[in-house]
């Protein structure tokens, strides 16, 4: 009953924003409703997937372009089976955007605030008990949180924004699968959450070449210097082996930083590409995003070596041609 009510509420709300076909939407909404109902009755994730499949074969990745950030996310998450597939009722969810720099949204150094806010709203709509947003910033965290627009946007959407500036917020975990990084201090917002969602922005990077979903993990750890001293590319792959991987990676490519990344100097470094990539598979989503980026600035996939190192650690596949990718042009 509850899910039915929330479903119809969603209908009214979405009709105004989306250009998707009404039939598609109704189907998806119904499936989302069913999925969450099953969860309510104690159904497991696998069962939810089983139910979702007959209606529309659940895809491995969604690549979407041509819309506004919130709009694209709303559409894409339906294609993935709805937020209820990733976030269960009563769960504590952490959303981890890139808030590394004291820059405004138009400079594309941080994840788009409208996207972060929309993800927070979807999590709460899916029944999350609490949604936390944080990042271990590079610039002064108070300025980053404020000037990125993420603190205000996330709070307005109902999230709790927590600091990441002090070592005491981090707890050491071991990474048995790591090659160079065997243990790391990870933020308690990640460790103490039920699930977390990784929301990077697509940028070039002087050192590891690209910063996407894998590199965004450097914002969940305390000691980044260790990474830089001990084979950065390998450490990036290693941290992604943490026991609690993100349930979903959402790559914000609405504005893409093509040059002088990851900080950028001016709007000339930014391309308004209006795209977004979503997948559970972090290697696949970084591969897809790099291939997309390569159309803007030359970036051979082989040069972004942390992606191949991640594949070697069995974190996912770079062979995205074999995946079921839903491509949407709004």
């Amino acid at each position: 009953m509850t899910s039915l009510a929330s479903g119809s509420h969603g209908l009214v709300e979405r009709k105004n924003y989306d250009h998707m076909k009404r039939r598609d939407f109704l189907k998806a909404a119904a499936l989302t409703g069913i999925a969450s109902t099953i969860k309510l009755s104690g159904g497991m994730d696998i069962m939810a997937q089983k139910v979702a499949k007959p209606g529309r074969r659940s895809c491995d990745m969604v690549a979407i372009m041509g819309g506004e950030p919130a709009e694209m996310f709303r559409r894409a998450i339906i294609e993935l089976g709805g937020m209820g597939k990733f976030v269960k009722k009563g769960q504590k969810v952490t959303v981890k955007p890139n808030i590394g720099w004291d820059k405004t949204p138009d400079l594309a150094a941080n994840t788009n605030p409208a996207l972060v806010a929309e993800i927070v709203r979807e999590c709460l709509k899916a029944g999350a008990r609490e949604v936390i947003v944080f990042d271990h910033t590079c610039d002064d965290w108070r300025k980053c949180y404020a000037n990125s627009g993420i603190e205000a946007g996330a709070k307005a959407a109902g999230a709790k924004v927590v600091p990441g500036n002090e070592e005491s917020y981090y707890r050491e975990i071991s990474l048995p699968k790591g090659v160079r990084l065997k243990q790391a201090k990870v933020h308690t917002a990640i460790l103490d959450s039920d699930v977390w969602i990784n929301v990077p922005i697509l940028k070039n990077h002087g050192g590891p070449k690209m910063t996407i979903a894998m590199k965004n993990h450097m914002g969940i750890v305390w000691d980044r210097g260790y990474f830089h001293r001990n084979d950065l590319q390998q450490c990036i792959a290693d941290i992604c082996t943490l026991p609690k991987p993100a349930v979903l990676n959402v790559v914000d490519a609405y504005r893409v930083m093509k040059s002088n990344g990851p900080q950028g100097r001016s709007e000339n470094d930014v391309v308004k590409a209006k795209a977004m990539f979503l997948s559970r598979d972090i290697i696949a989503v970084d591969t897809a995003a790099t291939k997309f980026f390569n159309q803007i600035e030359r970036m051979p996939l082989e040069s972004v070596t942390h992606i191949a190192k991640g594949q070697a650690l069995k974190l996912g596949t770079m062979n995205i041609d074999k995946l079921n990718i839903k491509r949407i042009n709004l």
């Binding site: 004291d102 005491s168 990851p262 100097r265 291939k291």
Partner: protein, 506 residues
């Protein structure tokens, strides 16, 4: 309300707000409170805010040393100590003592003389506002932060993040020691002898003291009703009332009005002079004035310029990178300007949101001890931030717009390739370039897919991001200070890409 209570009321407000300005690490109150530092006597004098100086002089000419009792944070600090002592040792009384005129004027001569000769450090050490600033910065602020951390631990335990943890560390051992010594010496003097410091050492006290000899409103005896009982003398924290002879040494009276409330016979009042008293006083004043100006003149001539700051730059104990020149804060114009105008109140040190301003040891030479310098161990200078020059009360750091600040070159980047991770380990890094907002440090192709830093010091602003974040030991990249600040060259913007891809590319 009695005059005394009015004085206490104002003093508590001024003291609390100024202390808050120094200890408020979150900078929630700074925008409203920093002017409290600007109205202090010595800072106003040094920054050329003569309206403020004139205001205090006129106020002193009218009402006596109200500055000392209601505005000066070090004076109020002493009153608080004396008040506490009175709670514990109520029996301990003070009595009239003779003025230490020679000491007072010797100190004033040395302070003024050394300042005119180009040495600011003695003034810095004795200026009451700056001395209190250092006490607040190095003693009260860490205590306040520790309190915050206790609250943060408690609140965060219940997942409330109203308070957040802050890192407490010693900014400078020498400055901490000087602050601690000032605190102990002045605190002990205040506990034992009240306002002795203000009336023997403090240069502001001496100047305002002799000005206040001329003031209109004064504490005056009614010779008829006074029975020389001595209550006022015992209550006087400046030890300036001679109840036996029914006289007040006005050069030392700090206008606290304690005596007025103590006197049971209302024989003391705060009022304009009666006609007949004016004559002998006038003589007194003339004498002291003559002495005062005489002293100033002697000091200006006598203090040899050989005392001028000699560059005693010693290499710092950490010999990882050998900086030839320290980095002076934005707005300091040059090391010379900083040396001449800064009194080391450390307001910029406590206000810096990135916590990179630290008191110097011998980096600027012996005369520059305790002056602020930029240190990139815990952070780097934020773009758009002009906090230090906004709050500086002496104009040692002149005001900067954000634009001026962001194109100011405080230092220039230096790269030591042989220390670099990319060179030594042949693995990716790029941390320095990542933090460089002008791309004075950029990553260029190296072996295979590797990239290595390449520097362009002309467009460097000297923010220290690269030095702070460099993971190598010893550092492979650092910033060398500019003794005279310059304008950084403008960087070349990247070519804009208008066309976004119309397909996914996979």
């Amino acid at each position: 309300m009695k005059l005394k209570h009015f004085r206490i009321f104002l003093a508590i407000i001024a003291f609390s707000l100024l202390t808050l300005l120094f200890i408020d690490f979150a900078n929630k109150s700074t925008d409203h409170l920093f002017r409290l530092a600007h109205i202090q006597f010595v800072p106003a004098l040094l920054s050329g805010m003569f309206i403020v100086v004139a205001f205090w002089l006129i106020l002193t000419l009218l009402f006596g040393r109200v500055y000392c009792s209601m505005i000066c944070p070090l004076g109020i600090f002493q009153d608080i100590i004396t008040w506490i002592r009175k709670r514990f040792r109520p029996k301990m009384k003070q009595s009239f003592s003779k003025e230490k005129k020679v000491l007072r004027f010797s100190v004033l001569i040395v302070v003024v003389g050394s300042y005119l000769a180009g040495i600011t450090s003695i003034l810095s050490l004795l200026d009451p506002y700056s001395a209190y600033g250092r006490i607040a910065t190095h003693l009260f602020r860490p205590a306040y932060m520790a309190g915050n951390n206790v609250l943060a631990a408690a609140f965060n335990h219940f997942e409330n993040y109203t308070f957040y943890h802050v890192d407490i560390y010693t900014l400078s051992f020498v400055s901490l020691l000087i602050a601690l010594l000032t605190f102990l010496v002045i605190g002990a003097l205040a506990a034992l002898y009240g306002r002795t410091w203000c009336n023997t050492i403090c240069p502001v006290g001496t100047v305002l003291g002799y000005v206040s000899k001329l003031s209109l409103f004064k504490v005056r005896f009614d010779e008829q009703s006074c029975i020389s009982c001595g209550l006022c003398e015992k209550a006087c924290k400046a030890s300036c009332i001679d109840s036996h002879n029914k006289t007040v040494d006005y050069s030392r009276c700090v206008a606290c009005y304690d005596c007025l409330t103590t006197c049971k016979r209302h024989s003391l009042s705060y009022k304009l002079p009666a006609k007949k008293q004016a004559v002998p006083e006038q003589e007194n004043v003339d004498q002291s004035k003559r002495r005062f100006f005489g002293a100033m003149a002697v000091a200006a001539v006598a203090v040899p310029t050989t005392l001028m700051a000699k560059n005693l730059s010693l290499p710092s104990s950490k010999k990882t990178i050998n900086k030839k020149e320290p980095l002076s804060p934005p707005g300091s114009i040059s090391h010379k300007h900083l040396l001449e105008t800064c009194t080391a109140c450390h307001l910029c040190v406590s206000k810096c949101p990135s916590r990179i301003l630290k008191p110097a040891l011998l980096e600027y030479g012996a005369a520059g001890i305790m002056l602020p310098r930029m240190d990139f161990e815990h952070g780097f200078c934020n773009a758009d931030c002009t906090m230090c020059s906004d709050v500086c009360p002496t104009d040692a750091l002149v005001k900067l717009t954000k634009k001026e600040k962001n194109t100011l070159q405080m230092g220039r980047v230096v790269f030591i390739k042989t220390n670099c991770v990319v060179y030594n380990d042949e693995t990716s890094c790029g941390a320095c370039s990542e933090h460089c907002r002008t791309q004075a440090v950029s990553m260029v192709p190296y072996k295979g897919v590797l990239t290595i830093p390449s520097i362009n010091p002309d467009i460097c602003v000297g923010c220290g991001g690269c030095e702070y974040v460099c993971p190598a030991t010893p550092k492979a990249i650092y910033v060398e200070g500019n003794p005279v600040h310059r304008k950084a060259k403008a960087f070349q913007d990247a070519d804009a890409t208008e066309a976004a891809p119309d397909s996914f590319g996979f």
